[in-house]
Symmetry: C2
Subunit: 366 residues, 2 copies
């Protein structure tokens, strides 16, 4: 890509996707005026709407547009209209697994954060929630026990057994570790690597390779933590975590636990990135068809997905920081959609567009 | 065993073991007077003290006494004096793994409970902690990915890989499921079985066999939950959990997270049971050599281990209930050892013997 032009494939998708994407584009529009960057946006169908318009969830035209782009800004897909399709044709599976496979998006980045002023949403005790929580789980997404061969069933009667293989190569561990250490450089220079090296051979190799990668990042502090201890430490001392590096299974557990700790899943973005730094950025939540079209969905996860895209695929921490600061300010100013408010204060809820406008003007003034 | 006589091998061990065991025996003594039971106790060396007196952590004489008993009441083992021995001769490994292997103690039962009045110790938000948490994690301990073959390392260079095998037979799943359903009958008649059946073949078989066992327990409600979801649900809705049935790895994670949720690890007992209902009962915590001999250790985990023994190996729910009720009352009356008190109230701390006496007299009056 040219230094200051970012080509973005915009895929709003279904449900609340289009309305929250509109707010993210509003913010990108302000960023263009404020910073020395140009966004070349091209919008394409994906998911259910692509099934309706093109006969499949990931049409060739959409895939071609993604290939021509520097990054994919993804909304959300799926809804009741398409639930009765065969599993492999359904919006979520066909679109997301299709894109992940095509671009080898082997890393999943899931930030989780308790925002100042929103501590009461966390299921953690007030003093612990207020001690701070701002983490990024880096999960390997394409190997490990979910995909390792052999897996299956053998034997008969009571001796019949099911089996799965946890498996990682040095190469697979190295590339996800590099993603984690690079991310740490953009954050607070700390990596906690989660494993079970006291009992798993895969973890012993994991630890060796992570130690090796760490040598290239002397400014980053590395700590190893067993998975069972990590699930405990997250509850009691959440502020010790910056980047958390995990295999597929352990990352599945730690990223979900971390999201729950924030108590505000609707605020969480995510990214899937390949070895070239090409990535797909999307809200961690779903398409929420039950509230689509009402203008009440929270656009923050989509806006933060755009900020992640700018940080990780375009390496512009300054712009990402400005957007994230505007989000923090907005939440702190109480400009909140309904799901963040206690029931008795729901009438103070702001609309999707009001929240987007507020964030955009804060970025403009930054 | 004769209906009303229970033969117990008492193994106090090292560190705080002997002093907390003395309080458990105090309670058993009161139980004998109060209920229609006789305890035939025989006390034996185990762990470090057995190394000093007999040259090994699990002497033949101790093992023979355990074989002659109906259950093992275990204290704790290990300390600085023995840390430089070869790993397989160390007190923890040699004594506990030796007993587990010899008696095929394939199930690990770990209760976790937030006691009324002690909600502030939990890292969970006050309203969630007060909603209640009283669970029993039943973990398979001798199979699964920690022991499955093959495991190792192969290949060279960047394609070198580490691998482990998750593996369960129908027989292995069935026997741990039976432990869980039987335990549910002694509690609130609910089992949540934790797996990852959407991606693991081992979990698909696990779910099948658990469903099959459930048919024999129509009065017990069964629910399946994915491991990633379970780690989240424990934080937000802890009171939905009664018995939690887990494979070895998932149980390692869930039992530790559950213990942390209570915020009072010093109160937690545990049990390891075989197919014949023979079991080893011990505090979940360690030998705490740093506070040994000062009379300040909390005896409750040891006393609750004795209650579990009476419930699970002797099937006397009435006696176990009476002991557990006395513990609840003691905590509620503020008869607390120092580690349960905030720093500014430490001078109100009761001694090990004072807490034991208080519980014993409550059982006597019950
Ligand atoms: Mg998950
Ligand atoms: Mg553990």
């Amino acid at each position: 890509m040219s230094e200051n032009t970012m080509k973005i494939a915009v895929l709003p998708g279904d449900g609340i996707g289009p309305e929250v994407m509109a707010e993210a584009l509003k913010v990108l529009n302000v960023v263009e005026k404020k910073f020395d960057v140009t966004f070349a946006l091209s919008e394409h169908d994906v998911g259910g709407i692509a099934i309706d318009n093109h006969g499949k969830a990931l049409p060739e035209s959409t895939l071609a547009a993604c290939e021509a782009a520097d990054a994919i800004l993804f909304g959300s897909v799926g809804g009741p209209k398409w639930v009765n399709l065969p599993p492999q044709e359904q919006p979520e599976r066909a679109a997301l697994l299709g894109l992940r496979g095509h671009f080898d998006l082997f890393s999943n980045l899931r930030p989780a954060r308790i925002y100042p002023g929103l501590e009461a949403l966390s299921p953690l005790r007030e003093d612990i929630a207020k001690s701070g929580f701002d983490t990024l789980v880096v999960r390997e997404l394409t190997s490990g026990i979910y995909f390792g061969k052999p897996k299956g069933r053998e034997g008969v009667g009571e001796e019949e057994f099911g089996f799965d293989t946890m498996r990682y190569t040095r190469r697979e561990i190295r590339r996800i570790a590099i993603i984690a250490f690079e991310a740490a450089l953009k954050r607070r220079n700390k990596v906690i690597s989660v494993d079970k090296a006291n009992v798993l051979q895969t973890s012993v190799l994991w630890r060796e390779v992570v130690e090796d990668v760490a040598k290239d990042y002397p400014q980053v502090e590395l700590e190893h933590m067993y998975i069972d201890n990590a699930t405990m430490q997250l509850l009691r001392y959440p502020n010790q975590f910056d980047v958390v590096l995990c295999s597929n299974l352990f990352g599945d557990i730690i990223s979900d636990e971390s999201a729950m700790i924030t108590g505000s899943m609707g605020l969480l973005p995510s990214a899937s990135i390949n070895e070239q730094g090409f990535g797909l950025y999307e809200p961690a939540g779903g398409s929420a068809p039950d509230i689509a079209g009402q203008g009440i969905a929270n656009p923050i996860a989509q806006i933060l997905s755009a900020a992640m895209m700018i940080r990780f695929s375009f390496n512009r921490n300054d712009i990402a920081d400005a957007i994230e600061a505007a989000v923090v300010q907005t939440l702190n100013d109480g400009i909140l959609t309904g799901e963040l408010l206690p029931k008795e204060k729901r009438e103070q809820a702001k609309s999707t567009a009001q929240v987007g406008d507020y964030i955009a003007q804060l970025v403009e003034k930054a």
